[in-house]
């Protein structure tokens, strides 16, 4: 494991994102009990790890995160960056009282946010596609992940009396 190959714009972007994302996370009023917050932070961290080490590395190797295919500290910071996003998705789902009728536009907005963030990440060299992977395939991942996150949250709400 290395820190990074060259400290340039992708590292600066990842660190800046880390500061902004966690500042928002700590500033927004708390809505859930601590164990639910921790649960969705872990989900948010696990999803990019699962995808990156399954389709983003190894035999498929569809994309490269940061400077190289080697494991860098910046890669770990990139995954940590994602952790609050699952929380934000559920946070605003609850805050905006999203129902079955508003779920589709709500999720489409999040897909657009994901798309913009991925475009910026590509521009900043945080992600580089390879082996015929293109930008648009990520929409499938966003739709699947966001839908399962909400379904899981609804299941948690049914099972957990503290929410």
């Amino acid at each position: 494991m290395i820190l990074w190959e060259q400290f340039d714009r992708n590292e600066i972007f990842v660190i800046a994102m880390l500061i902004v994302v966690y500042a928002i996370f700590f500033l927004v009023p708390k809505l859930f009990p601590k164990h639910i917050t921790v649960l969705f932070l872990i989900i948010g961290f696990s999803i990019p790890v699962i995808f990156d080490f399954t389709i983003g590395g190894g035999m498929l190797n569809f994309y490269q995160i940061n400077d190289s295919n080697a494991y860098e500290l910046t890669d770990m910071l990139t995954y940590i960056n994602f952790a609050p996003f699952a929380y934000f998705y559920i946070y605003f789902y609850e805050r905006l009282a999203i129902k079955k009728t508003t779920f589709i536009p709500y999720t489409i907005i999040w897909v657009i946010i994901g798309f913009i963030l991925e475009a910026v990440s590509k521009f900043m060299n945080v992600i580089q596609y390879q082996n015929d992977y293109t930008f648009y395939y990520s929409v499938i991942i966003f739709l699947v992940v966001l839908t399962f996150t909400v379904l899981f949250y609804e299941l948690v709400k049914k099972k957990d009396p503290t929410i």
Binding site: M1, P33, K34, H35, I36, V38, L39, I42, I43, F45, S46, V49, I50, F53, T54, G57, G58, M59, N69, A70, Y71, F152, L155, V156, K159, D160, P161, T162
Partner: protein
């Protein structure tokens, strides 16, 4: 062949997981599963790709066996081990569940060499035993920490 073996093993473990009376709630199970999965993925990546202590096959069929073992079989065996530990009423049964789980994890991992999925370069079964004992410990500590957090929040709620 290996894909059939590891797919059947995955199916069997999911069946056992469902059949067992899981004392962990949904949130605890999810947290333990995901933490184990993340540690397993990172450890296997570091051992295989970064340190090159283990060589993994380049055949797609066998590679799926590796992915199943790393991402589903390993966390499921850990989960089953913890469920049995929680169910156990005395220290000896808890210890047997703990040791049984990491010995089984080591056995399954070693079986990958038989099917040609893995080749141990600078790695051996003793290192595997130590690694899986540590993985089980991480999972148990994760469960204890999250369970305590959940209990505190439940008390606040009542």
């Amino acid at each position: 062949m290996s894909i059939v073996v590891y797919f059947a093993l995955t199916w069997l473990l999911i069946g056992c997981f469902i059949a067992l009376n899981n004392k962990m709630n949904l949130m605890e199970s999810t947290v333990v599963f995901l933490v184990t999965l993340v540690v397993s993925i990172n450890a296997s990546w570091i051992l295989i790709e970064e340190m090159e202590l283990i060589q993994v096959t380049e055949q797609p069929e066998e590679y799926i066996g590796y992915l199943l073992n790393r991402s589903v079989i390993t966390p499921l065996i850990v989960m089953i081990g913890i469920i049995l530990m929680i169910k156990s009423e005395n220290f000896i049964s808890k210890a047997i569940s703990y040791i049984g789980a990491f010995v089984l994890l080591t056995g399954v991992n070693y079986s990958l060499t038989y099917f040609g999925v893995f080749e141990f370069v600078n790695w051996n079964i003793i290192y595997d035993l130590i690694y899986f004992a540590a993985l089980m410990l991480i999972a148990v500590l994760t469960y204890k920490s999250y369970h305590n957090l959940y209990d505190k929040e439940a008390v606040k709620h009542t």
